[in-house]
């Protein structure tokens, strides 16, 4: 496909813009992309900058010197680098930047707590706790539906699970 601007080079940059549901597509070569303010990703409102700005926005809007200097002891990534790239350097980074991550994750996912699969080796306890939480949610649904007989059964099951979890801990 030829570049839509210069009509000479092969289009290698493919750009889709969606504004209020209206979709516009642009196929251009690298050269023309660099000259186009909309496609120039150094533009302060480019997608990349908005995305990393999101990271910034969730920490207080005033840059905090001590947070910026937080450095991961394992991979050496500091917080300002994370802010720039939007990518972690290693698993330890999560611990290092923990305090700043909860609002960020809430912004991206609308949640800040994992509720899915738990590695069986990592933690049987966590898996049980997760299961209990899920069962409790179902219990509430049953109560709301006034299915009391089923609810009573489920309540006993939850109690038993909670008890065994407690016993294991002791």
């Amino acid at each position: 496909m030829l570049c839509q601007i210069c009509k000479k080079n092969q289009a290698t940059v493919h750009y889709t813009k969606i504004i209020n549901g209206k979709i516009e597509e642009l196929h251009v070569c690298e050269e023309c992309a660099a000259n186009n303010s909309e496609l120039n990703f150094n533009n302060p409102f480019s997608f990349h900058n908005l995305w990393t700005g999101l990271i910034e926005g969730f920490q207080n809007s005033t840059p905090n010197k001590t947070v910026e200097k937080l450095t991961c002891p394992f991979c050496g990534l500091d917080y300002s680098q994370f802010r720039e790239t939007g990518k972690f350097g290693c698993a330890k980074c999560y611990e290092t930047f923990k305090d700043n991550l909860i609002p960020l994750f809430k912004g991206i996912h609308g949640h800040d707590k994992h509720v899915g699969k738990v590695p069986s080796r990592a933690n049987k306890k966590a898996a049980d706790e997760r299961r209990i939480e899920k069962l409790k949610k179902r219990l509430q649904e049953l109560i709301d539906r006034e299915a009391f007989e089923e609810a009573a059964k489920l309540r006993d099951e939850i109690r038993q699970l909670e008890k065994s979890l407690k016993d294991n801990r002791e």
């Binding site: 999560y94 991206i108 996912h109 899915g116 080796r121």
Partner: protein
């Protein structure tokens, strides 16, 4: 012939394929973007050792990206067996491909491991069972990075938690004809789903093919994510089928003409671009879906959609081709296959 397409799946008249991938990382290694070649090599060995005793009756073949030529790399992407991200750092990356091509374990993509399962038609259940089994097995010997609060830890915050991206590729030419695609994309984004082109993030929609996937990975468990997705896919299937019936009733000759013209072009073309070929193949597939064309199988059309892409056509020709040659060989390949 692409192996994973051979099995016939459910709802093939709308759903081409189901893909599930999970992102996993190991403790004590930097993430791929920040690691050097030695670390990458060490991690790769560790994964290979873990895979060795997989209690699967089917073997895995190992490929290093830097031992594949440019066309082969692209051809694997075109067959959806690896992601475009895997060929960005050829010295770091490799993959294990299950012999039936239903599963790929990508090593050192954006994350240390990206496990993917690919099935024909709509089939989240089998897909999840298979990927879960592979994951459970690898976990017994690999030290996965996992946090009680945040779940599976990933290089990008958009994957943290389940690390799960589940998607279905749908062929919806009639929703496109009546102009409902934009509404669909807008509606889905409101419920946390994303619509993309056929090669994933940032890719263009071609051949009326769209990939619908979950956006969020934190706060919903895997089954909830896939149940929601499945529900939405069912709605798409029903809507597309309804519009097909309706169009066939109201605009029969227009639709038939469109399908048979495309069939004719593909049968007699001497030179054709991949974009044009995709458009006609999409119409031919619609003909099959509507029962108008009955001498072709879904897998035949889907294979052609892959074969005609730039990397695959060069692999078929067994040599490098320039644009002009590609268009000629593509036309010949299509004529011989139709």
């Amino acid at each position: 012939m692409v192996k994973w397409l051979e099995e016939s799946g459910q709802y093939k008249d709308v759903v081409v394929s189901t893909r599930i991938r999970i992102a996993r990382n190991l403790n004590n290694y930097r993430f791929p973007q920040r690691m050097n070649v030695q670390e990458a090599e060490k991690l790769t060995q560790e994964v290979l050792n873990a895979v060795k005793d997989m209690p699967d009756d089917i073997n895995y073949k190992f490929f290093k990206i830097n031992s594949l030529n440019a066309a082969e790399r692209v051809a694997y992407i075109e067959q959806h067996l690896i992601s475009p991200g895997l060929i960005q750092k050829p010295d770091h990356s490799s993959f294990l491909l299950r012999d039936d091509e239903k599963a790929t374990i990508m090593i050192n993509e954006e994350d240390h491991l990206r496990i993917q399962v690919l099935l024909s038609g709509l089939n989240f259940e089998e897909g999840w069972n298979l990927i879960n089994k592979i994951d459970d097995f690898l976990e017994t010997s690999l030290d996965y990075a996992y946090d009680d609060r945040f779940g599976y830890l990933t290089a990008c915050p958009t994957n943290v938690g389940t690390g799960l991206r589940a998607s279905a590729m749908v062929h919806i030419p009639c929703l496109s004809i009546i102009g409902h695609i934009d509404d669909m994309i807008r509606g889905f984004s409101k419920i946390g789903l994303t619509v993309r082109g056929i090669y994933g993030e940032g890719s263009q929609a071609i051949g009326d093919l769209y990939q619908i996937s979950n956006q969020m990975t934190l706060g919903e468990d895997e089954e909830e994510i896939m149940a929601k997705l499945k529900n939405v896919i069912y709605q798409i299937i029903n809507k597309e089928r309804y519009v097909r019936d309706d169009l066939l009733k109201k605009r029969k000759y227009e639709i038939e003409d469109r399908i048979f013209r495309s069939y004719g072009i593909l049968k007699y073309t001497r030179k054709i671009s991949s974009k044009e070929a995709m458009m006609h193949l999409s119409n031919v597939r619609l003909g099959k879906e509507m029962g108008i064309i009955d001498n072709m199988e879904y897998k035949q059309i889907e294979n052609l959609m892959i074969d005609i892409q730039p990397g695959s056509i060069q692999r078929i020709a067994k040599r490098e081709l320039d644009d002009n040659e590609r268009d000629i060989i593509r036309a010949r390949h299509i004529r011989q296959s139709i």
